[in-house]
Subunit: 351 residues, 2 copies
């Protein structure tokens, strides 16, 4: 099933039109304490019209857990939700992930619509149907593949976001452009995400449509979809490592740095021209993101973190997504710790 993607400058009208197209028995809305205050008022008249129970969970990744999930199930059950009910998730990635998982499992699956309210959530989590909660300190340990029937993209909720959040989401746009096409990547290079909101929004839209196409071809990440992990092998390691040192970075910041490592490896172990290292380093990384401050003695720990990634099967080797060229990704390229050490050295020199 494909997800219907609607782009609008009028969230209220677009949601109303969406609801008129869907035959549902009752409507529910999930959001968090921040979004309730800032964005919910935009669609409030519609919620009144449909007599919609609003389920609110605490904002923040630490609430993407079984307790919040149980509260959502309970609200659906007590609100008399049936198999034909519809859930609208209004929020960032935490809300669309946990709301999508609640929808995947309530009465063995009900339909849901995502209205993402952050740049990262729009680009990274609003389409594709990867739903989840964190469990025992592990991200997305419990979840399901269950696609939203529709996603509504609007610049309205995105207009007031802080710079850090915009840049965190921008890193995922850069990633999608790098694995998609030279034309898309070039436009990304020419956009200042913090100063050019309209150009940014058109990149967001293209990014979401690109991801939806990929996930239609490979809904459960058996192959092709793995290209979306470009930059994430080193990126996740950087994210965990900085978190352990009590100097956390945003997901986008970690991935932006991880992409430089992946680009270096793509030059060393595939056919990506060396100038791409410098184009990325100058135009993206140095312009918008802080470097990850590790030394030689930290490399072993970083490589150990990379090898813990759930996509790895062969002990001692780490699977990377590499680029043969901009727009031509290759998946499942196993590299040794020695290979990775060389790339981390080059990363440190460039930094």
């Amino acid at each position: 099933m494909d997800t219907r993607i609607t782009v609008t400058h009028d969230l209220l009208a677009a949601l109303e039109q969406e609801l008129q197209q869907v035959d549902f028995s009752s409507l529910f809305l999930l959001t968090d304490t921040n979004v309730e205050r800032c964005v919910l008022p935009l669609i409030e008249p519609l919620l009144k019209k449909y007599n919609t129970p609003v389920i609110v969970i605490e904002a923040g990744e630490e609430h993407k857990n079984i307790d919040s999930l149980t509260r959502i199930w309970q609200a659906l059950s007590e609100g008399g939700a049936t198999r034909s009910s519809l859930l609208v998730n209004l929020g960032g990635g935490v809300i669309t992930d946990i709301g999508g998982f609640a929808a995947a499992t309530f009465k063995r699956g009900i339909r849901y619509v995502n209205i993402p309210t952050t740049v990262l959530g729009t680009v990274d989590a609003s389409v594709g149907g990867k739903t989840a909660v964190d469990f025992m300190g592990l991200k997305n340990e419990i979840g399901a593949f269950h696609k939203p029937i529709a996603v509504i993209l609007s610049p309205q909720p995105l207009s007031t976001l802080p710079r850090t959040e915009v840049l965190s989401g921008f890193a995922e746009i850069v990633k999608n452009s790098l694995i998609s096409s030279e034309e898309f990547y070039n436009r990304t290079l020419l956009t200042d995400p913090c100063e050019e909101p309209e150009k940014l929004f058109s990149l967001i839209e293209e990014s979401v449509r690109f991801k939806e196409r990929i996930t239609i071809e490979d809904p459960t990440e058996k192959g092709l979809r793995k290209i979306l992990n470009f930059g994430h092998t080193a990126g996740h390691a950087f994210e965990s490592w900085m978190l352990k040192r009590a100097t956390p970075v945003t997901h986008g910041e970690a991935v932006a740095n991880g992409m430089l490592v992946a680009i270096i490896l793509s030059h060393l172990h595939s056919s990506l021209p060396s100038e791409q290292i410098h184009i990325y380093s100058q135009n993206i990384l140095k312009r918008y993101y802080r470097p990850i401050p590790f030394g030689c003695k930290d490399q072993d720990e970083l490589i150990r973190l990379m090898s813990h990634d759930k996509k790895n099967r062969t002990p001692g080797e780490v699977n990377f997504v590499l680029l043969e060229a901009v727009g031509s990704p290759i998946i499942d390229r196993p590299l040794t710790p020695a290979d990775i050490r060389v790339a981390l050295d080059i990363y440190s020199d460039l930094r």
Copy 2:
């Protein structure tokens, strides 16, 4: 994906062969406190060989809940399960339902094998991929569709079951035969489930293979699969009603009585010949099951319970599966309370 169905008199050998066919990173086994004592020893050597963590939950439907589910997730996580791990569910319907749901949701889905140990669990829950836990007093409120990769059927665990359990499962076999073919139904009529274990086991096998064929065609119960609910609309109402009166009956007993109501309705509102009412009543219902003792004044309450079934959408009407003939079911036949009252009157006269 189809479920591989293996029939064996040697559970240990069949499981060993199954495990050799599957490429998995680690093995886990789920069972309950009863089955652990009675059946687990049959396959213990294999568990030792694969160094298999055994997850044991308390026996009984009241433990098919979020707490037990969380304990299973936790055991998988702490045991280092990966996306390539394999879970074996050894037990009745509670174990295959909750274990299947844990597998559906751990890391967004791992593979699992069912080894059913009750007649009801074998016929009703071992294939088809309907997985679930109960929630807030509602049966199967939270769940997912996720098929086992294999089911191993063996008479070994079934040999020591009490008569009540055998008859509870037999009712589901009768149901499958009624909606499947005259030939299958006739063989069912000629089998004494409590005295002829080999004939019973061959009916069990046929029943499971029939259900698997149906669920391949309609995995998520959009249409055809609804025929499996034959007898269950009145059956579930009887089950709830007797439970409320603190005189619970088994699922099979309730369904066996519900099927008589459905057969009467099939004669009144479709083309099923009237002699089928008497064949069923004499050869199945009166021979093996107690009648449900309701009076005229209870009919409204029973009809109210039928209309609460999650398959209904039009208020005031109740959807039934009827038979045009033995082996020719029709789904979604809406009937009015007046129609149902007539059938309940005839049921009471026959009883």
